[in-house]
């Protein structure tokens, strides 16, 4: 008998949503001791299913048909009190963002202890502490005695996710629901967490429902795959069969959208350098308290790079590597401590206000978060045309330019009079690109510009950028944490770690023959690498391991 069976599940959205049913007649089963991956783009209803299992659907969203069977009971018709005893004991859940899922004002050990105590109120304090430390060791947190007394903000993203997992395991659940648990993490941390979930699942014999949009992750951990699109299952089956020979075109599209499978660009340009960064240093100092020494974070440590005209240079690194600070320092949104930035040989740091304005016109930036990089109170057209107007174009002229760019990025002129909230993340990113290009720049800085997007949308935006670059002869500084994306678009790649450049090479050489151990680590951590290598027939993301 299967552990969890979802039968003909339909979940209705409130009136006025983009569709009537968030989830429409979904069937799937989770066997004991198996990992089932629910994969789909954002808006496919995958999180809704997870929340429905635990009775955590948001207000106004209701299951309207079907059953969710777990241990012979229908979870949809369970009384609230019964559901409470089930949550955390029979079924546990881990979330995408471990920082917001933990109470910031409570020590993590207490939070895990609380999870134990809720389902076992009589547990004596000493046993409780021992249990918490045992759980910490189990999820790979070394030094549990010290970490137990830490607050969430003192831990790294990976450690916080481990704490979340410890909390979920507190009562040895039979089913673990993981809702995009690695999406907010760095590649190497993601690799560790995936390995941990897989190992725990095997040793504890749990069923796991793993929700993700990244088919690379699916290839790494799934036993069974359910592909969702617009609330409906388009295909499901054993992971091996389904991924090797997808029957549905949508699954095929998801597989094809995974970046970094083409051959990397090779050959270096001999054009004049457009932008040079010389011996750049930046240290952030935050005071922590009266007695404690201030915390110093090195964001740039003697950074040296050159970007030639027409070249795309990718800067790759994990969070905290200083790659975003580098982008902001290039535009002087953050002032470096020392060092020089040269734009066509002119020192950017010595520019006066007028010169800096002209420089920023030539070097435009597209930011990471499509939700916060557009003014929510301005119509799209207005947001775009303010740039040209600030440089002396008439409003009518600027509006014409704005419409042209909206057409060019594939949104059409009717987007001009609409507000940002009417657009999806991918569309917003297109708008941001239009806004940057409306000023006719020579350099485009993309600061994690595709990181917040679904894989399929990501590939569309990357395509757009590559097309625009070819048409306009743009140079690009492309900041990303994802080696696959860098491989897709870059001529040359710089790998940064803790503010230092550890490796700098042409894309072909870097992937073919990485010299630095950190680069090799990053390459090894790419999700689904083994699968895609096998699928391509030749090892494409080659690292030192092959």
């Amino acid at each position: 008998m299967s552990l969890l069976s979802v039968r003909e599940l339909s979940i209705a959205l409130p009136k006025g949503a983009d569709r009537a049913l968030a989830v429409d007649g979904v069937n799937f089963e989770i066997e004991e001791n198996r990992i089932v991956c629910l994969v789909g783009e954002s808006g496919s209803g995958k999180s809704m299913i997870a929340h429905a299992i635990l009775g955590l659907l948001p207000q106004g969203v209701k299951p309207v048909a079907g059953q969710i069977g777990f241990e012979g009971r229908d979870l949809l018709s369970l009384a609230p009190a019964e559901m409470k005893t089930l949550r955390g004991a029979g079924v546990a859940m881990i979330f995408q963002e471990p920082l917001t899922a933990l109470n910031p004002l409570k020590k993590v050990g207490e939070q895990v202890a609380e999870a134990v105590r809720i389902h076992n109120p009589a547990c004596p304090a000493a046993t409780l502490t021992a249990r918490v430390e045992e759980l910490f060791i189990r999820v790979g947190l070394s030094d549990p005695a010290r970490l137990r007394k830490s607050f969430p903000f003192q831990l790294s993203g990976g450690q916080r996710q481990r704490v979340m997992i410890a909390m979920a395991l507190a009562n040895s659940p039979k089913l673990l629901i993981a809702d995009e648990p690695t999406t907010a993490l760095d590649v190497t941390t993601q690799r560790q967490i995936l390995d941990l979930i897989k190992e725990l699942q095997a040793t504890m014999g749990m069923g796991v429902l793993f929700i993700t949009h990244d088919i690379g992750v699916v290839a790494d951990i799934a036993d069974r795959v359910v592909v969702l699109k617009g609330g409906q299952v388009v295909e499901q089956g054993d992971a091996a069969n389904l991924l090797e020979a997808p029957r549905d075109s949508y699954t095929q599209m998801l597989l094809d959208a995974v970046p970094g499978r083409g051959s990397p660009r090779s050959g270096s340009l001999k054009a004049a350098p457009l932008l040079e960064v010389q011996a750049l240093n930046k240290t952030f100092v935050t005071r922590q308290g009266l007695l404690e020494p201030p915390r110093r974070v090195i964001a740039a440590d003697d950074v040296q790079l050159a970007l030639r005209e027409g070249e795309t240079l990718a800067v790759v690194g994990e969070s905290g590597s200083g790659k975003s600070t580098l982008a902001r320092m290039v535009l002087r949104l953050v002032e470096p401590d020392n060092g020089d930035i040269l734009w066509r040989g002119v020192k950017v740091r010595d520019m006066n206000r007028a010169a800096l304005r002209q420089y920023r016109r030539k070097a435009q930036i597209v930011f990471q978060d499509p939700w916060s990089s557009l003014d929510p109170r301005l119509k799209i057209g207005e947001s775009i045309l303010r740039g040209p107007v600030a440089f002396g174009a008439s409003r009518a002229e600027a509006a014409r330019t704005a419409r042209q760019w909206l057409e060019r990025v594939g949104l059409g002129g009717q987007a001009f009079d609409r507000f940002p909230h009417e657009f999806s993340g991918g569309q917003r990113q297109r708008i941001c690109i239009a806004r940057a290009l409306a000023l006719d720049p020579e350099l485009l800085i993309a600061d994690e510009a595709v990181s917040a997007l679904d894989v399929s949308v990501q590939s569309q935006v990357l395509e757009l950028l590559a097309g625009l670059k070819a048409d306009m002869g743009l140079s690009m500084l492309f900041i990303t944490h994802d080696l696959r994306v860098a491989r897709e678009i870059a001529d040359r790649i710089i790998v940064m770690q803790k503010g230092r450049i550890v490796e700098q090479n042409t894309a072909a050489d870097l992937f073919g023959n990485p010299t630095d151990p950190y680069t090799r680590n990053l390459l090894d951590a790419v999700p689904g690498r083994a699968f895609f290598d096998r699928r391509a027939g030749t090892p494409i993301l080659r690292g030192a391991a092959t």
């Binding site: 920023r360 930036i365 990089s373 003014d375 109170r377 303010r386 600030a390 806004r435 000023l439």
Partner: protein
């Protein structure tokens, strides 16, 4: 904006508050029509009980009609409440926006100045200012504005600082827009909602300060006000309760109405509450 209005109207508090406030405004506007003549004139016997001699709220120690006083007092209270709040907003938002947007030494100086104002008890400072400047509508408005701006400045500063960090503000700077244009056209419109809410509550506070000043005899001697009536009736409150109770009720109702409107505004302007 439509969404905002709908949320506002879906709150009973908002509707009740707005209705009462609307009534008070109508009374204030139509005071010369509803109750012609000066409220300072004798209208009948002193100490007339409510209903006696055609005066439905009674008369005060000098035979002036309490109802006429309450009606005319609404004009002064609302005028002072609204104009002193506008003045306080002008000072507070400007100071706060400059401090939050420029940061550094400018921020430090403005914050220190704000703190100096906040350490002096509001009401004591207001009394002092009115006493020095001689009581009149203008000086009272000025005094109330000067004691009410610091909280608005601090709120604006915090809002501006948090909005400035968002990426669309960086994007606007990179587009080549001037600092003033970025502040006025991008930062402030996105920071203004909680300031409007606090502003509406400041109106209520201003009405109370005015009433307290008039109670202490520091009101404008040419204008009948609720605070003055409460103050004048206070000595005989045990013999003639109506002289201070009715103007007191008027203050209470108006302030409560403004607070209700403020609360509904808060819900309506907060996108997270408005959406649910």
């Amino acid at each position: 904006m439509n969404e905002t209005l709908r949320t506002f109207l879906s709150r009973p508090a908002g509707i009740v508050g707005l209705t009462i406030l609307g009534l008070v405004c109508v009374v204030a506007l139509l005071a010369p029509v509803i109750s012609p003549g000066s409220p300072w004139d004798m209208a009948g016997m002193p100490f007339a009980r409510p209903g006696e001699g055609g005066m439905w709220l009674g008369s005060d120690t000098l035979g002036r009609d309490v109802a006429a006083g309450v009606i005319h007092g609404a004009r002064v209270s609302l005028l002072i409440g609204v104009s002193s709040t506008l003045a306080a907003l002008a000072i507070g938002v400007t100071m706060g926006a400059i401090a939050g947007f420029s940061g550094g030494i400018v921020d430090l100086i403005i914050v220190r100045v704000t703190e100096v104002f906040q350490t002096i008890p509001n009401f004591v400072l207001a009394i002092l200012l009115v006493a020095i400047l001689t009581p009149s509508l203008t000086t009272i408005i000025l005094a109330i504005a000067l004691v009410s701006w610091p909280p608005l400045a601090r709120l604006t500063r915090a809002q501006v600082m948090s909005v400035s960090r968002r990426e669309f503000v960086h994007a606007a700077r990179c587009q080549g827009q001037s600092a003033v244009s970025v502040l006025v056209r991008h930062v402030l419109p996105n920071a203004i909602s909680p300031i409007i809410v606090t502003g509406s509550l400041t109106v209520a506070a201003a009405i109370l300060i005015e009433a307290a000043l008039s109670f202490m005899g520091l009101g404008d001697p040419n204008h009948m006000s609720w605070g003055y009536m409460v103050g004048a009736g206070r000595t005989v409150i045990r013999q003639a309760w109506w002289m201070s109770v009715f103007p007191g009720l008027a203050i209470l109702i108006t302030v409560v109405a403004i607070n209700l409107v403020g609360e509904a505004l808060n819900d309506a302007l907060n996108p997270r509450i408005a959406r649910s």
